[in-house]
């Protein structure tokens, strides 16, 4: 598993993905300037923009790397030559997944550091008037955002193990991301709305809510931007949710890949 992990990671660097990300990270330089357009919350706007940019870059990475790296190996038949060696299919899958997930985490750390510098710059020039910048909340927001995208990479791998086409891993992952980010809102909406929904709609939304990963739970931007306190129990539960859901997705991927007929 480890050799696969290192080879994949090396391959990601060789593909110059890192350079591409650094180019998009140039957008961070614009954040302190854009933030000054705010009327009353320059520091808060710089946090919003930084976290949004991190989230957007990580989304692109998870979808494209997650959706393409494993699928490409199967499609180009690299997988045959590797599986001819004493490497099990599960080890191969775990090595690849670990490398892509590790890469996403690494990028989250690098972008997080750049974001901290940008936020520090904006908040020193325009100190927030009512609440100071809560750095721990920013750290947790980036960390949980990274976990969210690691989970999304897992989903992309799950699609890759069964798909023979490039479209399912990419579009399937994007769809799961969009639905998974909205299920909490939809679930809350049907619960509190006075509008009468048919039992069928309610059941479908409830099913989606439990079945699709709840990405909304990982979104701590509001706590980071406005310094709203985080619930330690909530964080622990979200981390637990991540571990269990990720383990389920990986196990399912491994079962499906082991049974897949490779031609």
């Amino acid at each position: 598993m480890l050799p696969i992990f290192f080879i994949t990671l090396k391959g990601l660097f060789r593909e110059r993905v890192f350079r591409g990300i650094l180019i998009s990270a140039v957008l961070f330089l614009g954040i302190p300037f854009i933030s000054t357009l705010s009327m009353r919350q320059v520091a808060e706007l710089s946090i919003t923009l930084s976290l949004s940019l991190i989230s957007f870059i990580l989304l692109l990475l998870s979808v494209f790397l997650g959706g393409s790296s494993f699928w490409k190996d199967v499609e180009r038949r690299y997988v045959f030559s590797v599986l001819g060696l004493p490497v099990s299919r599960t080890d191969y899958l775990l090595g690849k997944l670990g490398a892509v997930a590790g890469f996403v985490l690494l990028i989250a750390i690098v972008l997080g550091l750049i974001a901290c510098a940008v936020i520090w710059l904006a908040s020193s020039a325009y100190p927030p008037t009512l609440r100071p910048v809560v750095w721990t909340n920013i750290f947790f927001a980036i960390f949980f955002d990274a976990l969210k995208y690691v989970l999304l990479v897992g989903i992309a791998f799950l699609f890759s193990t069964v798909s023979t086409s490039f479209f399912l891993p990419i579009f399937g992952t994007v769809s799961i991301f969009l639905v998974g980010s909205a299920t909490q809102e939809l679930y809350d909406f049907i619960r509190i709305s006075e509008q009468a929904f048919s039992p069928l709609v309610k059941n479908i939304i409830t099913l989606l809510y439990y079945f699709i990963p709840n990405f909304g739970a990982f979104d701590l931007k509001v706590n980071a931007v406005y310094g709203i306190s985080l619930s330690p129990a909530g964080l622990m539960m979200t981390a637990g949710y991540f571990i269990l859901y990720f383990a389920l997705v990986v196990s399912l991927s491994s079962i499906l890949f082991s049974r897949r007929e490779l031609r």
Binding site: L37, M39, Y126, S181, A182
Partner: protein, 282 residues
């Protein structure tokens, strides 16, 4: 050679199109520029994990449009502002991100001061107070709206009480009491705007406060001359010119909004600009 000529032709056509294309986009009406803003309930799930960003984007876009209008108005180009479009956009932004301070700040500026839709402004401020429960600005705005625009001092006192609780500020506590009654409305507004102007970080918003302050200081100057006139002549002046001719006003007052000051039948100083750009009623 042919290829180079072709590329050159394409480039020239592109450059020739750029100027009218940019002018067309620049002059698009605000509503059209912003496009259709879906209801917040629809936007919330659609904006995935970018709700704060989408809300901030709406607020910045509206503020930059408003800033542009102020610039135009200062160069005496009047374009009727799309107040309703601005209001709806800000309202949507605040439902997407109920913590966005810029949204409340801007809603207070356009809804209360320009559109005089005080109840809507207060409804948004109330919405914000549920979330930003540490922020004294929101009850301060609401209290000011009740006192200055609606003359409902009891309600205003309730909000100033809240400001006092949040800040521990003695002035707010005093405002919550009898002081509100005794203070002249214009003085109250001048004090409010001076504080707002000092705290404003955005240049175009700062400018709007400075203009409004200038207008209100002129009103206060006329009011003081009016009081002096009343003291001497034992009746109120009917026109601002009477004050000028009688020497009660040293210099003719200038309305920075481009209007003309007049005294209405109740003796209140008003301006034909209604203290907003592009609202001329001569």
């Amino acid at each position: 050679m042919k290829k180079a000529l072709f590329i050159f032709g394409l480039l020239s056509a592109y450059l020739a199109l750029l100027a009218p294309f940019t002018a067309y986009l620049r002059n698009k009406p605000f509503d059209e520029k912003l496009g259709y803003v879906p209801h917040a309930d629809v936007l919330k799930p659609l904006s995935a994990d970018q709700k704060q960003f989408v809300a901030a984007w709406f607020v910045l876009k509206t503020a930059s449009y408003y800033g542009g209008l102020v610039q135009q108005a200062q160069s005496r180009i009047y374009e009727p502002p799309e107040y309703f479009g601005m209001y709806k956009t800000i309202e949507t932004a605040l439902h997407l991100d109920p913590y966005n301070m810029d949204g409340y700040y801007f809603a207070q500026a356009i809804l209360a001061w320009d559109m005089k839709r005080i109840h809507e402004a207060n409804a948004l401020l109330e919405h914000g107070m549920k979330y930003r429960d540490w922020d004294f600005y929101l009850p301060y705005f609401a209290g000011f709206n009740y006192a200055y625009f609606l003359k409902d001092y009891a309600k205003a006192a309730k909000y100033y009480q809240r400001v006092g609780e949040l800040t521990g500020d003695a002035l707010a506590m005093r405002l919550a009491g009898r002081y509100m009654y005794e203070a002249g409305r214009t003085d109250l507004a001048i004090a409010y705007l001076a504080a707002m102007e000092k705290g404003a970080q955005n240049e175009s918003i700062k400018k709007t406060f400075q203009i409004r302050l200038k207008a209100l200081r002129e009103v206060r100057r006329i009011e003081m001359a009016q009081e002096q006139y009343r003291h001497v002549v034992k009746r109120g002046p009917k026109t601002v010119d009477e004050l000028l001719q009688g020497g009660y006003l040293q210099e003719p007052p200038v309305d920075p909004y481009g209007g003309k000051f007049y005294i209405d039948k109740d003796g209140v100083i008003r301006s034909t600009s209604k203290f907003a750009f592009g609202v001329h009623s001569e």
